[in-house]
Amino acid sequence: MKNILEINNVTKFYKNSVKALENVNLNIKEGEIFALLGPNGAGKSTLINSICGIVNFNTGTIKINNMDIVKNYRTTRKITGIVPQELNLESFETVWNNVNYSRGLFGKKPDHNYIEKLLKQLSLWDKKDSKIKELSGGMKRRVLIAKALSHQPKLLFLDEPTASVDVELRKDMWDVVKKLNENGVTIILTTHYIEEAEELSDRVAVINDGKIILVDEKDKLIKKLGEKTIKIELFEPIEKINGNLSKYNFTLDQTNKIISHTYNLNSNTTDVTELLNDVKKDGYEIKDINTEQSSLEEIFIKLIKENNNELVRS
């Protein structure tokens, strides 16, 4: 699949000499949903704003559909849409005017049929004549999405799309994002909610302190970096850990009946078979076994911690 977005060695300094982005390299494939994860102030929004032309970056190149976004800004911006993090809307304008205004800005001639279809898709049609100030937070978020889609972009940036949105609406938003992607829109989203990245994305990048520290397919990432925990439930409790079991570093639950042992899938060997054999050798009968995989959130926290430690050391 071809790259719709190519970012090469992009660096951005703010006026106070704060380095917001440092040699960022990233390729986004056409048709994918890409999640950009990172703590507050990591550079997620700065990267998105640099791609969309909202802030100027200092060095490097950004290409959309193989066209430089500075030299060919008219062509590249026409196919790009952005949903900002904040609810930045004109309170006294109606939904209808707001969305049509956005379409005009992007150089598209008025198409009331398309806007009607879009508002219906986003469950905003009933509110088309309402002023923005009369809408709920969730509705405003939808208006922002409608504005970003008003010119039918091929590449859509969602900057924290479900920030301060309740759980029900968050699920609705996810459905909207999935539908857009099914219709051929490439989506790049930044999020704090790892659950969101896990649910939606095909690939994930982690950004910390202005640097991309990891890019991989979500499933591979979980598999590659994920730790697994095996839980062995016994019929009888372990009264004292000795014998063969004393060499393992496992934990017991309060009933002393469930052994939790963590191992890394990435290592060449795991001691799972040996552990099961030793449980049997020490005379315990196994009632049940199950495994748990570490979530993207745990991986993310681990990565950021490691990266921060490296930064402190250097």
């Binding site: 703010y14 006026k15 704003n49 969309c52 032309g53 909202i54 802030v55 100027n56 800004y73 008219r74 062509t75 911006r77 026409k78 790009t80 952005i82 900002p84 904040e86 930045n88 809307l89 004109e90 309170s91 006294f92 304008e93 005017n97 049509n100 205004y101 956005s102 379409r103 005009g104 800005l105 992007f106 150089g107 598209k108 001639k109 504005k147």
Partner: protein, 253 residues
């Protein structure tokens, strides 16, 4: 050229004007009427004529200029500062619009509003005094050029302002005094020689003088100098805006 984009900004801004039509028109009409009452009746009873023109009629071009200058500046500065304040500017910056197109949309709307208000003032003035326009084309030329130039000036203020208070400082502290001291309500020939020379340093004098010429064929300075002054300010504003946009200063972090 992204004409749809320019049109979107222009219509969006004019829509704001329509929503606040009463405030937009009532204020200049009331102010103009008050000027006629205060200057026309009170002072006009002592100064009957200047350069052979009835005093009430003489001050009409100055009053129009006063309103055009302040309205152009405030319309454009507010129009551009407001999206900066509400952060809705992200959309304009992300759109396929050149800086020229952005300025054209905002300044075009601000200048249009000023022109409408200017025409309303001419109509209002007709209720109080005889208004004669000897050179209507020249009058429109000055009216349009001044509206555009000072809308550009207002746009600069809108780009640089740090708060709503900042939008008011230059119009109140600089523009209004310059208009009052620029011969809006008198001819500089009525001043002592020293103050006449000082007045010549005031650029607004040249605008009012040229504009008044288009009405009554009387002026304090030559028409050529007036035209040159307004064009110089216009070009200065364009250069300044182009430079600011190219650097992204105050707009693109």
């Amino acid at each position: 050229m992204n004409w749809y984009g320019v049109k979107a900004i222009y219509i969006h801004e004019m829509e704001r004007f329509r929503r606040t039509l009463f405030q937009s028109l009532a204020s200049p009409i009331i102010t103009t009427s008050l000027y006629f009452v205060v200057f026309g009746s009170a002072i006009g009873s002592r100064i009957t004529e200047i350069d052979g023109i009835n005093y009430g009629s003489y001050i009409v071009p100055g009053m129009i200029m006063l309103t055009i200058l302040t309205q152009s500046i405030s319309n454009a500065s507010f129009a551009f500062y407001f999206p900066r304040f509400t952060n809705t500017i992200y959309e304009i910056l992300a759109a396929p619009l050149s800086s020229f197109e952005i300025v054209l949309g905002f300044v075009g709307a601000a200048a249009s509003k000023s022109l409408i208000i200017g025409c309303v003032i001419i109509l209002t003035a007709n209720f109080f005094v005889d208004v004669r326009i000897d050179h209507p084309v020249l009058m429109m030329f000055f009216l349009i050029l001044t509206s555009i130039t000072f809308a550009l000036f207002g746009f600069i203020i809108g780009m640089y302002a740090e708060g709503f208070e900042g939008l008011q400082i230059i119009p109140i502290l600089i523009i209004t005094p310059l208009v009052f001291l620029g011969g809006s309500f008198y001819s500089i020939n009525m001043l002592p020689e020293f103050w006449q020379k000082i007045s010549l340093l005031n650029p607004v004098l040249y605008l009012i003088s040229g504009f008044r010429y288009s009405f009554y064929e009387v002026s304090d300075v030559s028409l050529f100098t007036s035209t040159l002054t307004i064009l110089t300010i216009l070009i200065g504003c364009i250069i300044f805006i182009t430079y600011t946009f190219s650097k992204g200063y105050k707009i693109k972090d």
